[in-house]
Symmetry: none
Subunit: 205 residues, 4 copies
Amino acid sequence: MVRRRLTQEERKKETRKLLLEAAVEIFAQMGFYGATVDKIAEHAGFSKGAFYAHFHSKEELFLTILEQQMEAHVDNIRNVIKQHQSLSHFIETIDKYFLSVAQKNRTLSMLNMEFLLYAMREESVRHKWSGMITESVKQISKAINELMLSENYESDLSTDEIAWTILSLENGMAIFYYINQDLMPLNLYGKSLRNMLLPHIKEEN
Amino acid sequence: MVRRRLTQEERKKETRKLLLEAAVEIFAQMGFYGATVDKIAEHAGFSKGAFYAHFHSKEELFLTILEQQMEAHVDNIRNVIKQHQSLSHFIETIDKYFLSVAQKNRTLSMLNMEFLLYAMREESVRHKWSGMITESVKQISKAINELMLSENYESDLSTDEIAWTILSLENGMAIFYYINQDLMPLNLYGKSLRNMLLPHIKEEN
Amino acid sequence: MVRRRLTQEERKKETRKLLLEAAVEIFAQMGFYGATVDKIAEHAGFSKGAFYAHFHSKEELFLTILEQQMEAHVDNIRNVIKQHQSLSHFIETIDKYFLSVAQKNRTLSMLNMEFLLYAMREESVRHKWSGMITESVKQISKAINELMLSENYESDLSTDEIAWTILSLENGMAIFYYINQDLMPLNLYGKSLRNMLLPHIKEEN
Amino acid sequence: MVRRRLTQEERKKETRKLLLEAAVEIFAQMGFYGATVDKIAEHAGFSKGAFYAHFHSKEELFLTILEQQMEAHVDNIRNVIKQHQSLSHFIETIDKYFLSVAQKNRTLSMLNMEFLLYAMREESVRHKWSGMITESVKQISKAINELMLSENYESDLSTDEIAWTILSLENGMAIFYYINQDLMPLNLYGKSLRNMLLPHIKEEN
DNA sequence: GATGAATGAGTTTTCATTCAT
DNA sequence: AATGAATGAAAACTCATTCAT
């Protein structure tokens, strides 16, 4: 009896997971309005009914994914930061991360855009989103600060400003990249960051 | 007789203009799907029928606005470029332009995002959009090149790369700005650009 | 002054005539619902406004044409009848008439079908239509009667019944003819009629 | 479990059947354009949504019914033919069939007219329709041929021509019958056919 | 009389959501 | 938990008709 219950609960979780994964793909491919509950459910191998057993509404699902992705994004940044040893190495790592995300996850990037638009319009979502950004900036800023101190390096930009610039450039370049992958050289992200942050170091080279 | 006809034609033009203006606002506020033909027409002070006398479909209207905005954007860049006298002055001008657009035209910026998302999904639109970007890059690149020559200034980045960076940063910062206007300092755009492009000149100061 | 007024009235009549002619074609080609006031007016070289200066509504126009065509049809039958000299000759004439109408006036035949359907549904129109049919039957019947008397010819069918059969066969064959012109031999109309009415005469051949 | 699923499927079938039946009536009464999806669904006791769960479009429904009726028509003719023993008996059977259809199924007859008009305008439908007619003619022709051989009877008309005449007369008389049931004697169909086909046999009587 | 811009009721169609099984 | 039939609100779009010029 106990096992059966466990199995059932596990199955419930599994269904939910499958629905979420399907939703990520469908939302990314078709946008919030283009994605119908039917398509999402079918893509996950279930019926509409199953969907509504797991989520109250299409919007709730969307917000659930939004939150998931937000957390994943902050996590990723945290991981990138952990690996740094010097400012130059930090930029290299962040550049590689950008490259890998941009090339592999067109889907996620489009979903990200979808979220941005949603966030720009929905007060409550905008709030959460802005919280996540603040958090990201704080973490990046702190890491940069430590590196600057250890490298005895100065800049006209505050560490917060540098963090903002890093994230802005990432988003901005991702947009162009997805509009036409051939136009903009992918390695420009790291190159620009290096140019902006490491002029003195370069001179010493 | 001539005056009568002219008046009618003028009225037609006026109606079209009003519909377009209304559409810009409604699309920006509510997005492509949130904006209904009904809302647009009503906002302009007309009926749905009037709308369809001027546009074949909601999508046609959207694309009409898209094209308008694209042209306006390239024009604006052209104007910004015309005013430059030195690289430093050029950055200042582009920064001021960004500031004014960001502060005055929340509407247009959100519309811009809407277009981006649309472009990412629609092959044909993506094509046009990418053409516009290429054109913008070319113009900016050329202007920077001239300034660099006259100022005998060098950079690790090609003028094309600089142009891409300028536009990417603009888009990326605009996004953050609209998600939370209080978080990111607006003047950061110019500041970052200056840091990236003018390290040597600064040193001479 | 007098001349101008006359001209204006003539022009009015001319416009009305052009609108009616255009309507006949458009109704026949597209049916009552497929034909829009816009299309009709444009086909006549006028605007919708002109249309409504001449007809109260689309339906009124339709009924006007209906009446016109009904009268024309009775007229045609009258003419056919006038030309007869013998029963055999009468059938020949009616056959030729059918042939010419079927081949030349696909348009009118389809309009005729449109009217039939309309008549089947609209009490008042059905009434008029049925009056026209009765009139046609009467005229044909009378003509046949005279011919029979003069030829000392008898039939199991009354002259009224013969008239009904003639008209029914005409409609029925026209339908098949327009569905597929290649299937049914056009001369079958006369042939069948001859077979029905002239067995004795044929025997004498 | 099995029963549950069966019940649901059965209900689906039942709903579809009810929608089709309602559609036949509404189309017949109001024509293709007069019949709205709303009216059809309501007449069947369902919502518009239910309608679209069963049919892609109003036109698809219409064509579904068209095909159904075409098949039924050919079937009926087949049955009529099966029952014949002699040419005279054959005509009697076909006459009775006509009478029963005309009196009982005003609805179906009007639907038939609706189909005819539709067929006259739509290439693809016209094609199917003409195929059905050819088939009907073939079957009738064959039956007549056998009867003629067995009765050693000859006619100026080929058996194909006789078949065409039979069907044409049926349609033609049905039209007049529905425009005014009182005008044309219903038994005229059989009478005319007898007169056309059986002159010699009659004489021998 | 003629124009054609504007209206708005009416139509088809979609889809998030509910609910009986 | 899952199914999928049914709902109904909402949207895009059409077109007969009106009316100011």
